[in-house]
């Protein structure tokens, strides 16, 4: 599918799951896979890393 930001081609691995982050190889924008139905993914902008993220 194409990057919602810069329209470059983004390759999403077949085994990628909802909630995973995909980065556009051209513009570097991060997207979260919001839904996946019959191999068709819907992307949304990934959340920014928060102050309380991680361990």
């Amino acid at each position: 599918m194409n990057c919602p930001e810069c329209d470059a081609k983004i390759k999403i691995p077949d085994d990628a799951s909802v909630g995973e982050i995909i980065s556009c190889p051209d513009c570097g924008a991060d997207f979260e896979i919001a839904s996946k139905n019959s191999g068709v993914c819907e992307l949304k902008h990934a959340e920014k890393v928060g102050e309380d993220w991680g361990e």
């Binding site: 799951s17 909802v18 909630g19 995973e20 990934a46 959340e47 309380d52 993220w53 991680g54 361990e55």
Partner: protein
Amino acid sequence: MPKVRIVFDRVRVEEKMLEQKAIELGHDTKMIDAKTTQINTESKKNNFDFGDVVIERCVSYFRGLHFTACLEFLDVPVINKFEVANNCGNKMLTSLLLRKHNVPTPKTYFSFSSDAALETLDKEGYPLVIKPITGSWGRGVMALKDRDTADAIVEVRELSDGPLDRIYYLQEMVRRPPRDIRAITVGEQVIAAMYRTSTDSFKTNIALGAEPIACEITKELDDVCVKASKAVGGGILGIDVMEDEKHGLVVHEINNTVEFKGLAKVAKLNIPKEMIEYAIASAIR
């Protein structure tokens, strides 16, 4: 067939490993996105599909903590419990509980104003390590080596003025080799441990590039980690241990949503398998 649910807000390698292993073990497994789940005060357990047990794996500490509170409100068994997440997410509470339960831990000073923090530093001497009360991946952890550095950090905190910025957590700088130990406890068992070695900083977080090297689980390490786990309420935890030249092993931090992709490379046991089996056993108990 037990129903395992994994609550996430961002799927990392760890969540994928847990999901895959739960499926391999033959459990009815589902991933639940905390960000799209709606809960209210009239919600009932049977409005949702939270299965027999939830493993809470949000990368955002506060999101995970509050989601856990909702799960417990619905009487859904969740690993870790709210109380444990709260104890581990706040470094001051962790330090107090460790000391209270006689777990060796670095001497730590708590000050409740910038003036008091500077007074502590001047009195106890430099360096002390300053850490945010809640924080992760080593962010905001700094060695205060002199008064000038301390003044600068205090000024930054006063400018940012977050609700926890006026609570100062200052810890002795432990003399140790340039590494620490990360152990994972599951219930009352240490299932894996590694050294995290850092070459260019005193911080040893894997997130900052520290190298994982297998570490033998000695009786001393096992004892101190199990005791530390009990002190905060138990569950699935990442215990951070330093090798103090004077006092032996000391526990300096306990992590509630433990990351294990580094440790999985060197561990003998299968970490996700141990976690899932523990979660199911805890729920059925």
